[in-house]
Amino acid sequence: MIPSSFDYVSPTSIAEAVALLARQPDGAKVLSGGQSLLPLLKLRLGQVEKLVDIGRIPGLEYLKEEGGMLKIGGRTREAALEHSALIATRYPILHDTVRVIADPIVRNLATVGGNLAHGDPGNDHPATMLVLGAQVVVVGPKGERVIPIDQFFRGLFATALEPDEILTEIRVPTPPSRSGGAYVKLERKVGDYATAAAAAQVTLSATGVIERAGLALTNVNPVPQRAAAAEKHLIGKKPDAALLNEAGRLAAEASSPNADRRGQVDYKKEMARVLAARALQIAVDRAGGR
């Protein structure tokens, strides 16, 4: 549990950080909350030449609504979301999500940006951000670019982030009225990665028909992705138990989990189905409840 030696730098501006990364694109790595990276280093599963700690850069921790968007600073701690009244009242799906990420001690340090940038399909934010249609703002040597979340996840531990780019902000479009979302996770114990989890976000019409639907699963696909067939099946229909179950079935059918200590493949697929249906039900209830 002791890492090999590495250099450590703590720049005080994004420009300085980007320059440090650009100088050593293969050997340098951004350190944000460190809750995924440091265990990898300590177990010697990963090695870096240099850690670029963005913890001293001011102005990266915030939560605000602006221009129809929820803006989350890239280094905002999970605990900040967890204890935010704005998140609890306006973005219940995000509140659901942060409450089941690891444990309180980890959430005090772990960051939302890090959770996405790590590209781990076991992390909880990707599914939620996918169904919310978030955007990821990154800054590199060539300046700033905005990446739609649908294009962000590229593979296992691989994202659209270049090695010399820093994730600075997450933008979540504020859902319209008659919207609701939920995140439901099955874990073996607190702090575990999901056996399976489901994020659902729906918008109902005035007559109660599903106008917009987002559904994504955690830890049952090599890359976080939306359950497109299930979403399509939901659009234009009145939500009832049978419909939501069928959507869950379609989402599970499209998933491809790996067997591990959390369960065999058939169990995980079944859990994807059950949890997707449950998340959708809560999302629909919440959409109707406001």
Partner: protein
Amino acid sequence: MPQPRTSKEISGMGHSMKRKEDPRFIRGKGNYVDDIQLPGMLYMDIVRSPFAHARIKSINSEKALKIPGVLAVITGETLKQYNLHWMPTLSSDTQMVLPVEKVMCQAQEVAAVIATSRYIAADGVEAVEVEYEQLPVIVDPHKALEPGAQVLRTDKKDQKDNLAFHWEAGDRAATEKVFAEAEVVVKEEIYLPRIHVASIETCGCIADFDKVDGHLTVYMTTQAPHAVRTVLALVAGHVGLSEEKIRVISPDIGGGFGGKVPVYPGYVIAIAASVVIGKPVKWIEDRMENLQADSFARDYWMTTEMAAKKDGTMLALRIKTVADHGYTNASANPSKFPAGLFSICTGSYVLQQAFTEMDAAYTNKPPGGVAYRCSFRVTEAVHAVERIVDVLAQKLKMDPAAIRLKNFIQPEQFPYKSLLGWEYDSGDYPKALKLAMKNIGYDELRKEQAEKRKRGELMGIGICSFTEIVGAGPSKTFDILGIKMFDSAEIRIHPTGKAIARFGTKSQGQAHETTYAQIIAEELGIPAAHIQVEEGDTDTAPYGLGTYASRSTPTSGAAAAMAARKIREKAKKIAAHLLECAEDDLVWEVNKFTVKGAPTRSKTIQEIAFAAYTNHPQGMEAGLEATFYYDPPNLTFPFGSYICVVDIDRGTGMVKVRRFMAVDDCGNIINPMVVDGQIHGGLSQGLAPALYEEMPYDENGNNLAGSFMDYLVPTSMETPNWETDKTVTPCPHHPFGAKGVGESATVGAPPAIANAVVDALSHLGVTHIDIPITPERVWRILKAKGVAQ
């Protein structure tokens, strides 16, 4: 519950005095092994085997030794020069300290790097090159015992198979006869999987050898410091260690649970390194080493059968166990009990016959067999009997409470001679179960269950009425490596009436600093707050076998009372001298001697203590102190009845413990709050294996739960709100009527939870589920029975 006899200021027996040790733990002022820094200290890290069975072709240390700060790489060949490459286990088997020929389990120690910092030591470990030739692996103990199986212990000349030992108890023929003639027989294959104590503090030591005067001081995470000192003197005498020059100090310990009873190879290597180098060497395991290499617990495959009459009268019990011991028998058991106290398996019931036998196998897994918060294999025994009783009830369509009440040993039958040779000291089993049933509202719960079943909801109620056996000695039957299992207390009263007391035991969280002080406060009337309790330093504390198996109160606690009574006898002589009366004219009450019929003429213990140093009778020895070595006449048999209510999620298979009522009886209680703390902790450590923890291996002997990612220690979030209550049936042979309590809940909780889950599914024809009862395991049953959502 009886009212305390002493005032709150004195805080003798029965007071919920706050724990004296807590201020230092809460304020971060505890002193654990890893907190100790010695001048010039070196650091050790260990190269471990990635394979479960492999021949070592070569170990190349060149690259490691080139790293600045790496001073030495110790291998089996190094230790072989001193004949220290093998060591005896607590069960008189042999264990490698470092291998010369082959490794026999994954994570086994292969070499050790000594360096000037912990970081450099870790770099050194990575640089040691070991060439292995993999050998066939046996992980299944049943396969290990098959005729013709590859013999694993090639180091033992006479070993022709993988049988570590065979053990049996009871009358085989008579038991077979009862089974053959019985109206009803039930049988289940019950597996109690391999688990790990997973104490918060891992194991470690600092070995500090002074080359000039030959003194060895070992700061060590050990539950039994005195025994370790003697073992070191016995096994390393040939390299110059002599018992008067060995000092073992066990500082604050962050959880032991039996896992800190054994002597692990790391300790021995660190000591050898310090002896050779002449500098202090610190070795502290990391979490994964602790989980993967240190002693495991359980791993018993128990074929359990019960014979009965149709009316539910139990007749006979038969258990055949295959025990997986890993590559050596390193069980921490008393010498005459290779299967520990498994013969408590007849439990709380009157039977006509019982027979149990065990084949213990060698496999390519880490050794151990520690008594994880239980008095030597009692958890296994209780699980088997409490499960099979439920299986019988289910077969006969009887209520699990009713069948227990029908077959309990009755209060008037105590002392009760059990079929397998124990003499139960005292008990009132019906009272405990009835109290648990009343507290939890048993009848209403059964009605609720019936209604829920109609709606397709899954709810279960599980009972466990256990009898424990704790507090070893007595020394006529109990020893470890020949050292008898008595224990000790030494009390010194200072002139101002305060006291220091030292013990042969060693607390790892059991609150000895508080409870021992309360025992002395009860006996002498000195406020517990003014009694300093010390343990763990072999240079100062009297000899004893240490703390495990719920033995501290039955042995050292009893010794404290007996030593205090010796002091009281002397105090009486001094009081008679001071009051100018005959000893027979004095009566003792709480904290003073009073002249009979003259209540104003008295001397307090404080006045007497002062006189013992300033005005003692001529011809009497000065001072006021006593030592007592207590050899218990029998074990103590705490018991209890636990009732658990579970709800099962038909979608996920998740089991939720809705309620858990624990009624315990540990005889007279020293500190009710400490007892409740022990019960709460024990219940949580019983919930753990019931629903979460397991240490599985794949077919190549790879550990599949070698970190806290997959070794699922439950947190407060998984733990239900424990409800507790007590009955008090004093122990008739203990000086103040107490029994051990530290392990009751760990033993009693798993079968209660397992019985509740099976009960929830019993109408579907389910008779048994092995623990841990994971959501997936339940979901597979729901799916097979067609009730998954």
